[in-house]
Symmetry: C2
Subunit: 214 residues, 2 copies
Amino acid sequence: MEKEISQAVIKRMPRYYRYLGELISDGVERISSNELSIRMKVTASQIRQDLNNFGGFGQQGYGYNVKFLHEEIGKILGLDKQHHIIIIGAGNLGQALANYVKFEERGFIIIGLFDINPAMKDIAVRGIQIRMVEELERFIKEHDVDIAALTLPKAKATEMAERVIDLGVHAIWNFAHVDLEVPDNVVVQNVHLSDSLMQLSYTLEKQKKEKVKK
Amino acid sequence: MEKEISQAVIKRMPRYYRYLGELISDGVERISSNELSIRMKVTASQIRQDLNNFGGFGQQGYGYNVKFLHEEIGKILGLDKQHHIIIIGAGNLGQALANYVKFEERGFIIIGLFDINPAMKDIAVRGIQIRMVEELERFIKEHDVDIAALTLPKAKATEMAERVIDLGVHAIWNFAHVDLEVPDNVVVQNVHLSDSLMQLSYTLEKQKKEKVKK
């Protein structure tokens, strides 16, 4: 039986993946957990612990093979497989996502872009034609859709989530500022920009107060 | 002396704020931690623990006064103050942020939008004129800028962060896919969309594997 890996560890894995990718670009072939620790500003013991969750990957005294570790973490994150994404809501945010070529390099292929605004019909964003949401049913039946990104207003997100789930989509990347209620077999990843901004203002105000005290 | 409040607690506060705001809209004046717990899908003891970090706010047996609690959490998050934001990078993502009217309702006022592309000069997004980055120095000297949102390519983000920090900006909302190195008196909040997408694909693939096993 596999042990349950904590969300905190999972959250750190994309960062390892990113740093290892940069090391590859820099021509680094092997790195000790100490060196990686300095570069990533986390403790070496944290790195070892995190990676031990997946079986280790390092040889005592030899450090990590950068390319191998990058590949293995990629596999853990599911990046060795292609994932087809549709984006629902072709406003600025939806278009920003459609324009991220980096997603494709990691196997996330945006295959559809949908909106309700007829003025947007057939406009293309980086070659991806904007379709009307009425076409969703047929599109999802005819294509393998792994992930639906919801970049639409809060008021419409819940209904749209239900609609794509009913059509068999099992993963939702939710940018609407609402917590979606989904069945157990559906995964949701939220990007709540307002929440992020409020965390920033909390930290900023806290720091101001501390400065005043000093 | 104030005790240090964990990042995990801070991350949950915007969500409390959001739910309490919805309760106010629904006309709810008072709520027990049990009812709030059901609504938010966290345990009542977690809610009590989280809020006790800031002094409690509830009366045993009486529950929470929704409006009061909403206001107090707003204060904790610094939402009782105005924060001026500039957005650097007026591409789709920058424009998406500029278009979020909700930010303003919470006291985050976008006062400037900057880009390097001359074709964008003087175009306005929701009444906010796009300025050229050459004007940054003067603009920051003439305005109170609390937060700089960086919605520009990774390759330019580090240099731009240094530039605004030198000009006295103490908070950076970073959308570039790079970890910024900043002095201790500067706060950074990252929104790494690729990391979020990789977490989603990890969870999706894990669920697929578990389904196969069953």
